[in-house]
Amino acid sequence: MSVFVRSARWPRRLRVGACLLAALAIVAVCGPWFTADPSAIVDPRATALLPPGSQRVVLELRDGTGVAGEAARQAEGFWVLSRRGAEEKIPAADVTAVSTRRFWLGTDTVGRDVLARLLSGARVSLAVGGLALAVALILGVGAGLASGWTGGIADAVLMRIVDALLAVPMLFLLLFLAAVFRPSLAALIAVLGFSSWMGVARLVRGQVLSLKEREFVLAARAIGASPWRIAFVHLLPNALTPVAQDGALRLGDLILVEASLSFLGLGVQPPTPSWGNMVADGQAVLANAWWLSFLPVALVALTVIAAALVADGLQEIARRDAAVR
């Protein structure tokens, strides 16, 4: 009677959302293998702020650097490179390779390839969101189980802690932590995870409280199952659908928070690209380079939509289960 029973048909929203999330994850993992180095700056004079689809000729020089321009032709032992209305002569002997390069999604203010940055930004943003969710789920499920299953003093203490933490204005706290301790990726994941497990704990506790009165728990106890076994083998699997639904919504939330922090300059630090800090870079040139801000925002939105669709679908399954009972 949960998502993981094979005979239960997944609602369409769940299928669409799950496919989208899977596709995003695959693109994030594999994409960067097929694109250029996201931090490579070819030649800012010719490749800064190019709109999507632009193409430039790149001459690689003997000293390992490169120059680029709109067109290049060979004349009398020189390469003549035209760049923004001017021409530059480069001795043919210095040029080791000539290639044309297309920037499918344009370039940023210093001439880095936006496609490459979006893809490796996807890795960073999804990894931070996903791992922070894992931290929150482990803490929340642990605390919720402990609190609901054991009851008594442990329950009272844990729930007061949850109440207290829920009253802390999280955004200010995140701001403060991020400002005082310049965050590494690991610290960012930890902070995001630690600031969002309380909701999970409450949810799991509620589920456990209602499940533990049911007959199957009594039956398990009657045949001599240990409390640990009942908690992890009987209670937890039955609480999975609502927890998964909450987790999907939370994933979207965490990705939004990470993007916001990085946008404010307090999350993922440059030069590591993340969707949030890419928008911060593009903000200054919003009026004439829309693609720098629009594309990362669109990807954040797509991810959150996918997560919300998964959550909706899971809720539908939960409702169906409730109707069967």
Binding site: F172, L175, L177, V180, F181, S260, V297
Partner: protein, 320 residues
């Protein structure tokens, strides 16, 4: 009721104290102190020492905590390192700006959410419903800064209709009466819209779901059986009940009223709490950070209290 209120206020006070203490500890144990803000190497060590003494940083931590707590209880949250003024004065100056912005934003979000959900409920699962569902899902998923930048790009840069930042223009600042008010309204349009757009998704999605459930309840069927029109049954009978849980949701957004949408304020250079706190975080202005956090925590506690009380008044089934 009275006993309940007293108990809740007591619990709330303990909570505020706990948060204040933890934040104070974090602030005090963070590497670097006020003197490390004086980065100019020409400042002589003696002046540094005097500066530290002026801010009371030369005393041991427990003594600092005691005197800070003592004055905090009397409503004195210390002196901001950056603004060189009382923290309460700084917060008091920007809080009204934030309240203006966020209360309008919340009102827009609520009104828009109710209107959209009612339109969707006219023909559930019809074409209109599907499109609005898609739109609200997108609004829900868009990051706040994305909406803000989109509005600025479109309405300020492309169309030139509204100013992209600040609360008043220079002329507005100098003017009085009507001109000043008109200038303020012009500056309010984009940030309020941004708050409304980011919030309307959640409200509409929630309200649509609960209206769909509520519609099938017996009391609604009974109203229909008495000859009440579908529209009247929805708006007069089902809507108030569907709105009940929104009270809790709104109580939870009271802290948002106070702390402001930090990102909106930063993007629009709105002189409010969020922007001041952002500046305090970047400049490590610890007394101000501490004070702002406490004010926001008080808002959370009061918000939850008011929400629970309002819920009990609106729904007589709930006993406190």
């Amino acid at each position: 009721m009275m006993r309940w209120a007293l108990r809740r206020i007591g619990v709330g006070l303990v909570l505020v104290w706990l948060v204040a203490t933890v934040t104070f500890a974090l602030v005090s144990l963070a590497p670097g102190d006020a003197a490390s803000r004086l980065t100019d190497p020409r400042i002589p060590p003696a002046a540094r020492e005097r500066w530290r003494r002026d801010f009371g940083l030369d005393r041991p931590l427990p003594a600092r905590y005691a005197s800070w707590l003592g004055s905090a209880v009397t409503g004195d949250l210390g002196t901001s390192w950056y603004h060189k003024r009382k923290v309460t004065a700084v917060i008091g100056e920007v809080l009204p700006n934030t309240l203006l912005l966020t209360s309008l934003g919340l009102a827009l979000e609520l009104a828009g959410g109710i209107a959209l959900a009612l339109v969707q409920l006219r023909r559930p699962h019809g074409t209109g419903d599907r499109w609005i569902t898609l739109a609200t899902l997108t609004a829900f998923a868009l990051p706040t800064f994305g909406v803000a930048l989109g509005l600025i790009g479109l309405f300020s840069y492309r169309l030139g209709l509204f100013p992209p930042s600040h609360m008043l223009s220079l002329e507005g600042e100098m003017a009085h009466g009507w001109t000043r008010f008109a200038d303020l309204v012009k500056h309010l349009v984009l940030p309020v819209t941004a708050i409304g757009v980011t919030g309307v998704g959640a409200v509409t999605r929630y309200l649509r779901g609960s209206l769909l459930d509520e519609r099938l309840e017996h009391y609604v069927l009974a109203a229909r059986a008495r000859g009440c029109s579908a529209r009247r049954a929805l708006i007069v009978h089902a809507l108030p009940n569907a709105l009940l849980p929104l009270i809790t949701m709104m109580g939870m957004s009271l802290p948002f009223l106070v702390s402001g949408s930090l990102i909106i304020e930063v993007v629009f250079s709105w002189p409010g709490m969020g922007q001041v706190m952002y500046g305090a975080a970047l400049g490590r202005d610890l007394p101000l950070l501490l004070g702002g956090t406490i004010v926001a925590t008080v808002a959370v506690v009061v918000g939850n209290l008011l929400a629970d009380a309002a819920y009990a008044i609106a729904d007589p089934r709930v006993r406190l």
